[in-house]
Symmetry: C2
Subunit: 438 residues, 2 copies
Amino acid sequence: MTQTASSQSTTEASQDGHKPDAAAAVEAIAVRSRNAARRMARANRAWKDKALREIAESLVAKRDVVLQANRQDLDEGKVNGTSAALLDRLTLDSKRIDGLAAALENLAALPDPVGTVMRGQTLPNGLRLRQVHVPMGVVAAIYEARPNVTVDIAGLALKSGNAVILRGGSAARHTNVALLGIIRDALDRVGLPADAVQSVDEYGRDGANALMRARGLVDVLIPRGGRELIQSVVNNAKVPVIETGEGNVHIYLDESAGTEMAVDILLNAKTQRPSVCNTVETLLVHRDAAASADVLAALAGAGVRLHVDQRVAGILPSGVQATAATDEDWAREYMDLDLAVAMVDSMDDALRHIRTWTTGHTEAIITNDLRNAERFIAEIDSAAVIVNASTRFTDGGELGLGAEVGISTQKMHARGPMGLRELTTTKWIVQGDGQVRD
Amino acid sequence: MTQTASSQSTTEASQDGHKPDAAAAVEAIAVRSRNAARRMARANRAWKDKALREIAESLVAKRDVVLQANRQDLDEGKVNGTSAALLDRLTLDSKRIDGLAAALENLAALPDPVGTVMRGQTLPNGLRLRQVHVPMGVVAAIYEARPNVTVDIAGLALKSGNAVILRGGSAARHTNVALLGIIRDALDRVGLPADAVQSVDEYGRDGANALMRARGLVDVLIPRGGRELIQSVVNNAKVPVIETGEGNVHIYLDESAGTEMAVDILLNAKTQRPSVCNTVETLLVHRDAAASADVLAALAGAGVRLHVDQRVAGILPSGVQATAATDEDWAREYMDLDLAVAMVDSMDDALRHIRTWTTGHTEAIITNDLRNAERFIAEIDSAAVIVNASTRFTDGGELGLGAEVGISTQKMHARGPMGLRELTTTKWIVQGDGQVRD
């Protein structure tokens, strides 16, 4: 009956060989998670950092175990006809494991958000008041076939004093079992509860659904992955969700924009890493923007496929190819070397286009006109508004948050890049010496 | 075809005499709300305060219109057999209208949360960064037959730069139409959009349901009312909700508690205003707490009906009556002069009882023991943790927030008393001079 920390204890029913009801199994996991969360909330920073470093060392030491499990997933994936792109995301190698360990070391070096006093005062009646950051409690994450997310989210949740329940993609299941075992054993060794990191993977889709409906048991659910996954979670969840990621990012090239800056920023925003959410997807050029032709030529020269409206087609430099844009292009997050380009007559038109098509992630203006910059900042209603810089800066690391949980495109709780603080809530602490209300 | 601001423009279908589809009508209202929200977000504090004062003056000036509409609701209520308690909540009189106007004046005197910089820095690459509070956008509220909430929520939403969509109880519909007309006319007079305050009342339950499902159109929905209303909204809403109000509040009487302080706090927490959410509902007494008998005698003397476990029954002072408590009593929010009382052997037992039955609103300890106070603060996972003071202090006004939107019992976005700041979100503003990512 003894169990190592690495194997999650399962319900009796499953030990008999019967698959228990997923909802009941997930509830049992969540109850264990709640108990573990209480212990994590009281662990001080030094203890949590020790756990993160223990996990990092263990990942490196048990590299072979992880790589072997990963090869098993890759072999099964090939047999099942998994796409090359998915297989690539699924693949861990020695360097990626070193990267995961290094990320955990970085996390250990970051300040602890727990215990930070958000505000406080002494009231006229002598009550001492403070609003303090405390862990959320039980964090859940549903993600796809990138096993690095397993380590990443577990590390972020632990550092912020939470317990976490994971649901990874079935394509990565052997790798995730190996990673989970390493993490749980490490927690056990430093005296923190192994159940602070659990998985519902063995219950498949039913497990994921039960997790989404575990109201009162899960404090926050974070979906990480493509649009379809995120929308499915947002639509089906009964627990609080933080919506992340979708970025139909716009850059508006104002009539006053200088050519050199415009070319630099557009090339960076589109080509530096086209597959991520903060890459630009639509360029709006003012009809009098002198920089337009050079920008289009530079983008085409860098291999960007342009999807343009009729008026932009009329100003294309000779030799630059483009296809005609439709409404689909304005809506689309290409996440590839494609860019939609439209011409506008005014900032009003630019703002209207953005309002119509934005996902509220990031929008930028390139301008030398102060009034236009101010107006763009005031009127754009997105998580990040950028003046004269690349949209690629909408990133927790770049904005100085240290670590990134994801990029929230919702308005409640967190908006834009989320750091450790966004995995906490607050608690009012009121201390008196007998005060009562009149 | 001309319309005064006081009458919301309705869809063409309804002008033909056909009731349009509630979902379509609510969508049209939400689109107008979004447009109004854009204008509200750009209004500075002076302008918003002018609107609040204009509404306050107008309420007083048009007092008779409101009272007449209110009498109509009361008359219909009596015909329909509405309970006396509901009729009382529904009733406005001249003094209550003065109170509403005064609350708006107070709101005008409060600082504007919009534009407050939450954090900011200049990055090593020269990017200037700030995270600024901005309005949520479209706030929705579903509430019951208290017409004061119409003015209250509208004022809070306007002050924080939002537009608001209201769904009041049908029992107050004439009063709400009158109040809405006064608010919208006042907005119009000061040059702010009347559509910043709209109602879906004419679409009845279908309107309320459509509002709950208006994903992407409503930024946050706040239910205000009893447990049933709040649970129905939480369970059915597809838009982000802030759960408010339920308070199964505990006080733990530690073995070291002094009698005088214990009596004062318990009497205040139970009898000062028993019908509200921050009133105490369960008292846990340590088996060695010397203050217990005096506390129970004082409560009984103040007319509190005690529901006690067997061990508490054994220490009841002579002449004090009590009924036997069941699990229902531990779970129940009486909101009346009733109190459940249990005896515990240790703080462990007290914490376990609270964990089992709490709604996460407020818990207090009465103690003279530093270690016990610290442990209670650390381990209680509720919006407010109070040491040696009445639980009645969990209130926006008392905690210095100025105005109160409600008391959040959830962990996401806001926890505990919510002020104006909790009706805002944030926006990252990034300003550079051509920065790109390496």
